[in-house]
Amino acid sequence: MSDAVRLIEVKEEIHADNERVAQGLRSQLGQQKTFLLNLMSSPGAGKTRTILKTIDTLRDRFRFGVLEADIDSTVDADLVAARGISAVQLRTGGFCHLDASMVAKGLAALDLSALDVVVIENVGNLVCPAEFDTGAVRNVMILSVPEGDDKPLKYPLMFTVSDVLLVNKIDYMALSDFDLQRMRERVLRLNPRIQIFEISAKTGQGFDQWAAWLSREVSSFIGPVSNALTGSALPPAQH
């Protein structure tokens, strides 16, 4: 037996499997006409409240479902379900993020034929969720004013992968030294294409513009809505 060291070429991307699953999920959602939105932020930035307010703003236009990811609790899913919105809780059991396979499992528990939009509330964390494609059509992140305007410097990847930045708790601005202009410059240098909306999930400020963006994105992905909410929906799917 030779003990000479040989070199084996591998050239494999570690995330390739997840990306395959994510691409598959996106094309499946395209066929089913369900828009999947991945919402990311640190803990306490206001994800659940932003989701509820967004649904309140758009519930006459689209039928919403929510996938709630938490390391170990059901409090957010309970809150969403209490409003009569379809919600699935994904307990990640210690995992710091969701990947495409976990999302696919969660979606399987929802009746997608009855939903136009599913919002993923990702695990509260500005680091890990940024590295994993969930299969979502768009990535949206929240930075809340009390967190500070330096976060783009500390967590650059999250700002790089997001299509939209929601600057939440804008009503808190008067009590803070958060510099909006400086934050905006930092974010746009990381990601010149990102859309930035200033909102308050508490007062509803800024939701018109954010909801208008989301409506356009959903409509262009799922096509004309069958006006499900006025009773003139497509006939029930045949089983």
Partner: protein
């Protein structure tokens, strides 16, 4: 924070490539990880040592090379490297344009491995 999951993938991939190649031992695995990754090299090795016990990859050393963050200027299309901590303040060295797009720095690539 997700070093364990990444390490499991590394082990799966190297064992797949070793199988059927008459490999008695994997000595060293060369990885290239982008500058934007927040993974700790030390923890990846630590988890790898644990997960690889009893396989041909046991005791393999992970040689991790950090790939640079590469930006592309939106105005003149030139590409340039920046340090991770300079990302939020980067501007094009050619034309001074602040609007730049990340083109590399997120990769997790297993390049090759040295085996016996």
């Amino acid at each position: 924070m997700h070093e364990l999951q990444i390490t499991e993938r590394i082990l799966d991939i190297v064992l797949k490539h070793a199988s059927g190649q008459d490999v008695s031992k994997i000595v060293r695995i060369h990885l290239r990880i982008g500058a934007l990754s927040d993974l700790e090299d030390e923890w990846i090795q630590h988890y790898f040592d644990y997960l690889s016990r009893g396989t041909v990859a046991e005791n393999a050393h992970l040689a991790i090379k950090r790939g640079p963050a590469v930006l592309c200027c939106q105005s003149c299309s030139c590409s340039f490297e920046v340090k991770r901590e300079e990302l939020g303040n980067a501007q094009c060295p050619e034309c001074g344009e602040p609007s730049v797009e990340l083109v590399a720095g997120r990769e997790y690539l297993i390049e090759n491995m040295e085996v016996l």
